[in-house]
Amino acid sequence: MMRDWANLAIETATRRGASYADVRVMDIRHREISTKNGEVGTLLESESLGIGIRVIASGAWGFSSTDRLTRDGIQECAAEAVAIAKASALAKRENVALVPEQAHVDTWQNPFLKDPFRIPVEQQIDLLLAADKEMRRVKGVTVAEGSMSFRKIDQLFASSTGSSIHQIKMQSGAGIVATSFAGSEIQKRSYPNSFGGQHMLAGYELIESLDLVGNAPRMAEECVALHTAAQCPEGQKTIILGSSQLGLQIHESIGHPIELDRVLGMEANFAGMSFLTTEKLRHLKYGSDIVNVVADARLEHGPGLGTFAYDDEGVPAQCTPIITNGLFTGYLSSRETAASIGEKRSGGTMRCESWNRLPMIRMTNISINPGTWKYDDLIADTDDAILMETNRSWSIDDKRYHFQFSTEIGWEIKGGKKGRMIKHPSYSGITTEFWNSCDAICSRDYWTLWGTPNCGKGQPQQVMGTGHGASPARFRNVKVGIAFAK
């Protein structure tokens, strides 16, 4: 059925004057469960099926989408896409140019062991409520929360140049949060990460591996203890970032600035632009010599939220070196933006949130390669620092120079030993200065491929999941504590 709809759309668009057309038919199933203080909060399951048709006509882009999947509905949608392209041509400066991509005919599904939609909802709720109960056992916890979400995307990509690619992606995620109010403070601890926990291209086996119940008491105890912890000092310090915080640091200060559509000004009105102007490619010293970052959408990188076989304009998954021994070596690109800077092929990073959204450049799995340090050796090697774990707030300017992050919890490192707890840890800096101050990265044994499920970009805005592999790393001479400075 999907193929028939896609063929009809492409045939109609071509007949109406499109010089190129591609189509995404997507059938998306979603389940969301949340609990709070011993009760079920959200309990929702939904499905959405539709078609998005992107065309080039009169040398300009048009896109239309519909969930009216009748013959008339699809033909009208394709005709509208062509008419919109012709309207776009009114403000055209030059014809859209795409780098070539051969036709691909393929089928792919990410591996998973347990279909989360076949696990009884009752079992999923019971797990969250068990973790909730463990958190509320700790005196001082005012809110205990848990959540799970699952998404199955069954999609067909087809193009007027002969591609026909069927992919099925299964995503799972879960997390818990303890919150405590006392005096004039609201403290929180999240496991295994903030903002919904850990998310991967995986089945229910991911949820079972997280041991939410086993980790709940520690989260609750740390949350309450934060009230009496020492305040993060102000000044220049060595910091060690936990792997999930480093994952978000990569997301904001490497992942977004390397998006070539931002660099070329296409996102200037909303998401902003990038300091990584094109003359900096293969010239800018982005980080210290030990910093190596890749954009890797291939399954061999791991089952991240940025893993797939083909992107949403039919380009196979690739690994692009982004930072090589500290040197800036690559962008995230599409067929159109690659042509704009004279590259021969797209980096394969075009993705759309759903059938009713246009594919755009999105992060795949943007990961820092593991270093050589054992975690205990890194702590022992550090004389005076703050270890910061689990993001609490994040902000960066619209060219991605200046950032400020705070984390839920910190620990003082003195004389090579982990010491007292620190509350309100925060740090700030300039992107390239920060990455050039990195002098130690932990090894593969401490490397985790984190999922960021809530990355917003575009107008109309699209939310996309991205992957970020990271292990704990050390940075020297970083400004800390300014978020709470008076």
């Binding site: 099926l49 400066r93 009105n269 009713n356």
Partner: protein
């Protein structure tokens, strides 16, 4: 071009709702059916680079079974899919623990009429948007500037019905124009939205952004610190938007609100009065909440004193008060929130605020605002697209952008002047009716590179 991909009619939505109510085997059933057509023309580098349209239908069914409730959704309208979505909601509900807070569904309610549908907005074509964008791009070309932005238009309608006889219908159009004008080392921005496209003037907005870009050329770096700061209505909106959930009864019940322990105390300035008012002529959105309860106008802050919260039905019962019509669709863990904030404005123009400032900062737009401390309500973020130094009562030129770390509570206690309240649009919050503000001792903590 006539709309080739029309939205569903009200009668079609009603038929779907009625069909599901008949098919459902739940003790109680609530159905929301919504239909949207939306289009957005996006431009950058003085050309249209994306141009999109969508037609979507959403069907959402809430089932109540033995004191339990759950929701299922679909966009498929065939009989088998409607039967399945109703059955899924029932099946989900059956498999959860009983909910002691669950109340019976509402019976029929009466709603105050709001007129937020404009045929001219719904009838806007891709050519209409492209022509307006072309004029803006040509203006930028002529000024040797670069334009980027969006021009969007669309319409939506929804029907809510339940098995106890509640029926609600709402229809609205939307239009929005947003533009950033770039020069080599400066930029300007303007944005406006309205249900009525005739209220949007793309040319005037582009000219405003163009002036901001040219006036802020060659920005100089000044040191961070506390400054008297004049915030545009958009910048005010993006900051105070972080306060809206603090006025939810559930947030106070959970001790997650910055108003915990502060209700009835003077925490803001005497000149701060805030309502939630879905019926205000500059507001938008339906006159009922996620359960179909009519929205009430609520005085949230009276001359600096937080007076009232908003409540869903379940939260009101827990807190022994009356619901205000601000509940979210059930089931959810958040309860409610005011969604139609209206500030009492003043009579000072931004020019007058500048004239009366010896040394200060004028801010066009804020960006990437995040909460650093939820109780003291410290927010961090950046200035963007036109930040100016004010000296001796006049604008002295553009400056490099600042990072701020500022308590929203302290900010609303330090407001020295208010402009007229206008419908403002930003990026971090939904639209609201807010004034420009002149604020004492606003805390800029660091400077960026541009």
């Amino acid at each position: 071009m006539p709309n080739k991909n029309p939205k569903s009619t009200q009668a079609e939505l009603e038929r779907i709702a009625e069909r599901i109510l008949k098919l459902s085997e739940a003790d109680g059933t609530e159905v929301d059916v919504s239909s949207t057509t939306d289009a957005l023309t996006r431009f950058a580098n003085n050309t249209i680079h994306q141009n999109v349209a969508e037609r979507t239908l959403g069907i959402s069914v809430r089932a109540v079974v033995d004191g339990r409730t759950a929701r299922a959704g679909t966009n498929k309208t065939d009989d088998e899919s409607l039967r399945r979505v109703a059955a899924t909601a029932v099946s989900l509900a059956r498999n959860e623990p009983e909910n002691p807070d669950l109340l019976p569904m509402l019976k029929s309610e009466k709603y105050q009429k709001v007129a937020r549908y404009f045929a001219s907005t719904a009838g806007t074509t891709p050519e209409d948007r492209a022509r307006a964008v072309t004029r803006v791009c040509k203006m930028a070309d002529k000024q040797k500037q670069t334009a980027a932005g969006i021009f969007a238009s669309g319409s939506s309608q929804s029907v809510m019905a339940n098995s106890r006889g509640l029926f609600a219908h709402y229809e609205q159009t939307r239009s929005e124009f947003s533009v950033t004008i770039l020069e080599e080392n400066s930029s300007g921005w303007a944005k406006s939205n309205s249900p009525d496209i005739h209220k949007i003037d793309p040319g005037a907005l582009a000219e405003k952004a163009s002036r901001t870009a040219s006036d802020s050329r060659q920005p100089r770096e000044i040191s961070a610190g506390r400054y008297t700061t004049i915030l545009s209505p958009s910048a005010v909106l993006d900051l105070v938007g972080f306060l809206f959930y603090d006025f939810a009864g559930t947030a106070v019940l959970d001790k997650r609100s910055c108003l915990t322990g502060r209700m009835g105390k003077k925490v803001f300035g005497e000149n701060i009065t805030i309502w939630d008012d879905a019926y205000h002529p500059l507001q938008s959105g339906p006159p009922y909440d996620g359960e179909g309860l009519p929205r009430q106008k609520v005085l949230l802050v009276d001359r600096g004193v937080p007076k009232n919260l908003v409540y869903s039905r379940a939260t009101a019962k827990k807190m022994k008060t009356k619901p205000t019509g601000h509940g979210f669709s059930l089931p959810n863990e958040y309860g409610e929130a005011p969604m139609n904030l209206v500030f009492a404005g003043g009579d000072k123009s931004i020019d007058e605020m500048v004239r009366t400032t010896d040394r200060g900062i004028l801010v066009t737009r804020l960006w990437y605002i995040r909460e650093v401390d939820p109780y003291e309500k410290i927010l961090t973020g950046m200035t963007r697209d036109g930040t100016f130094l004010v000296e001796d009562g006049r604008i002295a030129g553009g400056i490099r952008n600042f990072r701020f770390n500022q308590s929203a509570i302290e900010m609303l206690a330090n407001v020295e002047m208010l402009g007229p309240a206008v419908r403002a649009a930003g990026e971090e919050s939904f639209e609201m009716v807010v004034p420009a503000m002149k604020i004492r001792d606003f805390h800029f903590s660091e400077v960026t590179k541009f």
